[in-house]
Structure formats: C-alpha cells, structure tokens
Amino acid sequence: MIELSSLIVGVALLLLLMAAATKGWLASRQSEPRLAASEEDATEPCPEEFVNRVFSRRDWEFVRGLKAGSIERLFEQERKRVALVWVRQTSAMVRTVVREHAQATRQSKNLEFSTEINIFAQFLMLMGVCGILSVAIQIAGPLWLGDLAHFAQRLAQRVAKLQESFQAGVLANTGEAGSA
C-alpha cells in the first residue's frame, strides 16, 4: 500500500513541478503587455438573457421547422461553439476571482487557514462544474443540457426521497426493537 501512495506522491510532484516550470517560463515570456482582449480577461459574467438563449430550444425548433439538414447541422455546431466559449469565460472568471483573492491576501498577516481552505474548496467545486458542463456540451450539445440538468435534478430528488424513506424505516425498526 505504501508503495502505491509513494508512487502517486512522486508522480504528482513531478507533474506539479512541470506546471510550475511552465508557469515560470510563460511569465518570463509575457513581459510585454498583451494587446488583444481574450476569454482569460473576462471579469463580468455574460448577460443571463443571452446565455439562456444559447441553451434554449426555441431557436432550435424554429430551425428544425425549416427542414434543411445543412442549416440544422450548422446551427448545432455554432451553438456548441458559443456554449463552450461561455463555459471557458465562466471558468476564467472564477480563476480571476481566486487569483485576485490570492494576490490581495498573500501579504496579510492574519490570513485564516480554514477560510482559505473553504474558498479553495468552493473554487475546486466550480472548476469541476465547468469541466462537467464542458464535457456535457461536447457530448450532448447545449440544447439538451437543460434536459440533462432537469433529469439530474429529478434523479437527485428521487435518491433523496429514497434515502429519507430508508432512514425513516431504520428509525422505526430501532424504535420497535427498543420498545420490545
């Protein structure tokens, strides 16, 4: 067991050092100011109405009504591209928030370990959600994402209900055993 954990630690260390070396190398190359704005510069979220439109099926139903296969394919490709740009922008925004936080607090003398861990956990969760969204868009496309989210929500609710009824059953059984 210790061999496996040693191997994992060793490989993880080498990968992280590669990331650190790449970051240092990139930083040394980026001494000149960047001119063009990119997805990485995002500081404000994209307006919700616009994003809702990307994931909405209304436009898709209109395009399907045209009964032109090439337009349908083009529409799907474009929507997927826009949705992926939105996910990248959102994850860049999350990274910017945490980077700004780290740069502002790293010199603070009363930095709290638990607060920092909490923020880092929130950051990891959001990055995970963005990763899952990106994969889901790649696989299913943005138009079916709403359905997927609703399906996941219904599934989660059903599991929660099952768990509640199971817990209620366990409590009832222990109550009966106690009274007997």
């Binding site: 210790i2 954990s5 040693s6 191997l7 630690v9 992280l16 919700e48 603070s108 923020i119």
Partner: protein, 247 residues
C-alpha cells in the same frame, strides 16, 4: 562501468556548482543549499574511497550519509520556504499549516500500519517512507506557491525545481528498486541526482534578483473583507451557473 560514470560525473557537476556558487556569491544567499551540495561532494568522495577499501564499511557509510543527506535536504526545503515567503507572511502561515498537516498525516499513516517506520524494515524501506514524506511536503509547498502566485527569481526557482525533481524521481525509483538486482531502476536511482545537478547548474550560474511584491501590505481587518467578497463572488457565480443550466 555505468555506476562509475554516474559517480564521477556527479562529483564533477557538484564541484562546478560549488565553484559557480562561490564565484557569484550565491553561496552567501543560500548557505543551506550550498552546504547540502558540499556535504554531498564529501559523501561521494568518502563513499568512493570506502568502496575501494572495503565494501562492508562502504555499506554502513552509505546509509549513514544517505540519511544525514536526507535531513540536510529537509533544511533546504525550509530555506526555500523562508527565502521565497519572506515578504508574504500570509502565505508563510498557510505553508506552516500545510507542512504540519503533511507531517501529522505521515505519522498517522506510518505508525500503525505500514512497514515504513518499524524497526524490522530495511534501510531502503525507511528511505522510501522518509522520501515520500519529503515529497509530500514539497508537493504541498509548490501547490501553495502556484495558488498564491508567489514570484520566484531564477535562482530560487532552480533550487526548488531541481530538488523537487530529485526527490520525485527518487521516490518513483525507490518504489520499483530491488536490493538484489542492478536493473534499470538501480541506475535511474543513481542518475536522478545528475538531472537535478544539471538543472541547478543552468539556474545558478549567476545571481539574478527575485522580483519584489509591488502591492503594499494590507491592513489586518482587510483580510476578512477580501475573504468575504471572494466567497460572495464565488457563490454568485455558482448561483449564476445553476440558473443558466436549469433555465
């Protein structure tokens, strides 16, 4: 033959590194690191003559100096931490907590179950267990440096990358190394130090100052305000993502 080649090239590179450090006065800036390199040169020379004189004595000398090198190497990690985080007390505090957690986890994992800490375990198993703890400590530190975007000068980055590479390679080699055979892992174990020496020579040939932070130190009460604002912004993003996907 290959062992001899690795041995002598290590000694030559170590001497070149020491001469370069004395010439550029980097040895004054990183005394623990150069002390460590000096110790390894001495270890290599003593081990070489002991090997020629009596292989039995060599075995004892090898393990004693190997564990002494491991202890001095840990001081190098503390020197990296001290020099790089001198201007960042907040991150230094996080680093202390992270290191404490790593050592507590190592003790908790090692004492009751593994063979790593027991008196019956071999020197090789002991070294693997200790090197793994060292690797985990460096891993936690590098992760902190990346998260808090701690700027590194070329020299300090070289020391950190070289020592991290050496420890990472050693841990991987020790996982597969057998005491009986002189296979690939035996030579990779010996050669891992040469890779680190090459990196150090490239980064430590001349002095280059570390970039200084240009943001003024925050007031004590500002931290709570910044942390609350960050959490609020992350929560807003989370709610925004939920709303969009469920719409």
């Amino acid at each position: 033959m290959l062992s001899q080649l690795i041995w002598w090239s290590s000694i030559a590179l170590e001497i070149a590194l020491l001469v370069g450090g004395l010439r550029s006065r980097l040895a004054n800036r990183f005394p623990v690191f150069y002390g460590y390199v000096g110790f390894v040169v001495l270890q290599d020379l003593v081990s070489f003559f002991a090997f020629e004189w009596s292989p039995g004595v060599y075995k004892g000398i090898y393990w004693v100096t190997e564990f002494a090198g491991l202890a001095i190497g840990s001081l190098v990690v503390f020197e990296i931490c001290k020099v790089s985080l001198a201007a960042y007390p907040g991150t230094a505090r996080m680093a202390r907590n992270a290191l404490a957690i790593v050592f507590l986890a190592a003790v908790a994992k090692g004492f009751p179950t593994s063979a790593g800490w027991q008196p019956t375990s071999t020197a090789l198993e002991m070294e693997r267990a200790l090197r793994t703890v060292q690797a985990a400590a460096i891993l936690a530190l590098v992760a902190l440096f990346l998260v808090y975007s701690i700027p590194f000068g070329r020299n300090l980055r070289g020391i950190m990358l070289g020592y991290g590479l050496f420890i990472g390679e050693r841990v991987i080699c020790l996982t597969f190394l057998s005491q009986q055979n002189h296979d690939f892992w035996f030579y990779a174990y010996s050669a891992s130090y040469i890779a680190a020496l090459g990196l150090w020579l490239g980064h430590l040939w001349s002095y280059q100052p570390s970039p200084q932070p240009n943001i003024c130190v925050q007031l004590e009460k500002d931290y709570q305000r910044i942390a609350a604002a960050t959490r609020r912004r992350l929560q807003e993003t989370s709610a925004y993502l939920r709303r969009v996907v469920r719409s």
